[in-house]
C-alpha cells in the first residue's frame, strides 16, 4: 500500500479524481469532550453564559465539514449532500459524545469532512464552556464507518476488534431517547429527484426523525417494488440502513396528510410522513 497524497518524487500532491467513477459515499466519525460534572449540568440546562451551546456547536460542525478543503491542504472541495451532527450527554462519564455523518455522491470519500466536523464541534463546545471550565479535554476523535468508493467499506469496530473502543463509548443506556434541545441537526439536501422523474417526498417527524437522523428525503417512484407504502418502506431500507428503524416500535404513516396503512397506494409527488404515536393535548 502506498500513500496516495505523495507522488513518485516524494512530493505532496492532490490526487486527480476526474477519472474515478461517482458513487454514494458516507462516513461517520466521533469524538468526545470531557468536563466537570457541574459544567455538564450547566450545559444540559442551558445555563452557560454564551447561550445555546449544542445548537451553536452543531452549526459549527456543519460549517466545518463544508470548509474542510480550506483547512486540510490536499482535500478536494466537495458538494456534500448531507451533514448531521449529534450530541449525547454522558453524565456517568462526565463528557459529551459528538458524532458527525457526512454524505455525497461523488468521486472522493468524506471521512476528512466527518473528522473535521467532529473536531470543530468539540472545539466550539470548549469555546462555549471555557468561561466555567478551562480543564476540559477533547479526545478519542476517530473514524467509525466509511462506505462507498474503491477502497471498500470500513468499520472501526471490525477493523480494531473490541480493544479500540473504550467501554464508556459503546455502552448504551436503556433510558428513553435523550437529545439536546434546539434544532434536530439535520441538513439534508440529498436525493433530490430531477423534475422529470416521478418522485415521492418522504418526511420523518418528531422522535422518529431524531432516532433515524433523517428529516426529509425524496425517493424516485421507480425504486419502489410496489407502488404503495409497504413498497416505499422496502425502498427506503435499501437506500439507507437507518430506515430499518421504521419497523421498531409503533410507527404511523400519513399520505398527503391523511392517515394511511401499508396498503395505501402511492403516486408521483405524494407526501408521505412517518411518525410515532401522537402525544398532544
Amino acid at each position: 500500500m502506498s500513500l496516495t497524497h505523495i507522488n513518485a518524487r516524494g512530493e505532496a500532491h492532490m490526487v486527480d479524481v476526474a477519472d474515478k467513477p461517482e458513487s454514494t459515499r458516507e462516513a461517520s466519525a466521533s469524538g468526545l469532550i470531557r468536563m466537570q460534572p457541574e459544567t455538564l449540568a450547566l450545559l444540559a440546562e442551558g445555563g452557560l453564559p454564551k447561550g445555546d451551546v449544542l445548537a451553536t456547536a452543531r452549526i459549527a460542525g456543519i460549517q466545518a465539514a463544508k470548509r474542510t478543503h480550506e483547512l486540510i491542504p490536499l482535500c478536494h472541495a466537495l458538494a456534500l449532500s448531507k451533514v448531521a451532527i449529534d450530541f449525547e450527554l454522558d453524565e456517568p462519564e462526565c463528557c459529551v459524545h459528538v458524532t458527525a455523518t457526512c454524505r455525497l455522491t461523488g468521486r472522493t470519500g468524506v471521512e476528512m469532512e466527518a473528522l473535521t466536523a467532529v473536531s470543530v464541534a468539540c472545539l466550539t463546545l470548549y469555546d462555549m464552556c471555557k468561561a466555567v471550565d478551562k480543564g476540559m479535554e477533547i479526545g478519542a476523535i476517530h473514524l467509525d464507518t466509511k462506505t462507498g468508493g474503491k477502497s471498500g467499506d470500513y468499520r472501526r469496530d471490525e477493523a480494531w476488534g473490541a480493544r479500540a473502543v473504550a467501554p464508556s463509548i459503546i455502552e448504551s443506556s436503556p433510558s428513553p431517547i435523550v437529545t439536546g434541545e434546539g434544532v434536530s441537526g439535520e441538513v439534508s439536501v440529498g436525493h433530490r429527484c430531477d423534475i422529470a422523474t416521478p418522485c415521492l417526498r418522504v418526511k420523518c417527524l418528531a422522535e422518529l426523525r431524531e432516532r433515524l437522523g433523517v428529516g426529509d428525503v425524496s425517493v424516485p417512484l421507480e425504486r419502489l417494488p410496489s407502488s404503495d407504502v409497504a413498497g416505499l418502506k422496502t425502498a427506503l431500507k435499501a437506500l439507507d440502513a437507518r430506515f430499518e428503524g421504521l419497523d421498531q416500535g409503533r410507527v404511523l404513516c400519513a399520505v398527503n396528510q391523511v392517515m394511511a396503512s401499508d396498503a395505501t397506494p402511492l403516486t408521483d409527488n405524494d407526501e408521505v410522513a412517518f411518525f410515532p404515536p401522537v402525544t398532544g393535548g
Binding site: A44, E45, L89, S175, P176, I177, V178, T179, G180, E181, L205, A206, E207, E210, R250, A254, Q257, V258, M259, A273, F275, P276, P277, V278, T279, G280, G281
Partner: protein, 151 residues
C-alpha cells in the same frame, strides 16, 4: 374555530367570543389543558410541542366535524399551542356550546379524547435529568374507544 398557535390564549376571552350575540345557547363547557411539572419523570422544566403543519389543522377539523355529527352544537372553539411551554402554561383549549348541558359536556370530552389520539402533535419534555419524547398512554386510547362502543 380551530387555531394552532405559539402564543398564549385566554380561555375567558375565547369563551365570551363564542357566546357573543347569541341567545340560543343554553350551555357552554370549556376544557383547558396545562403543562404539569411531573410526568414520566419528575422535575419537568419545560416541554416542546411539535406538530405536522397542514395535517394538524385537517385532523382537528375532522374531529370537530365528527363531534357535530354526533351532537347538536351551537359553537366549537379548539386552540392548541406549539413550541416551547413551561409548567402551568395552558396547552390546549376546547370550548363547546350547545342548547343543553349533556351535549356540551360529552362533545367537549369526545373532542379531547380524539385530539389526544388522532391529532399529530408530539411532546418532548425537558427535565433535570435530560430531554425525552413523551410516549403514548394506553389510557388515552381506552378513553377514545369509549365513543366507539357507545354508538
Amino acid at each position: 374555530m380551530i387555531r394552532v398557535q405559539e402564543s398564549v390564549f385566554d380561555a375567558g376571552i375565547e369563551l365570551r367570543a363564542l357566546l357573543e350575540g347569541r341567545s340560543d345557547i343554553g350551555a357552554v363547557v370549556s376544557f383547558t389543558g396545562l403543562v404539569r411539572d411531573f410526568n414520566e419523570r419528575p422535575e419537568v422544566q419545560a416541554l416542546t410541542l411539535e406538530h405536522y403543519p397542514g395535517m394538524t389543522e385537517v385532523a382537528l377539523d375532522e374531529i370537530v366535524e365528527q363531534a357535530r355529527s354526533r351532537w347538536v352544537l351551537q359553537g366549537v372553539t379548539v386552540i392548541h399551542r406549539i413550541g416551547r411551554l413551561e409548567p402551568a402554561d395552558p396547552i390546549v383549549l376546547v370550548v363547546v356550546a350547545s342548547a343543553h348541558r349533556r351535549a356540551a359536556f360529552d362533545a367537549c370530552d369526545f373532542i379531547m379524547d380524539y385530539l389526544k389520539t388522532r391529532a399529530p402533535f408530539w411532546k418532548k419534555e425537558h427535565t433535570a435529568s435530560g430531554d425525552y419524547w413523551v410516549s403514548e398512554r394506553d389510557g388515552d386510547h381506552q378513553d377514545a374507544r369509549r365513543w366507539e362502543m357507545s354508538t
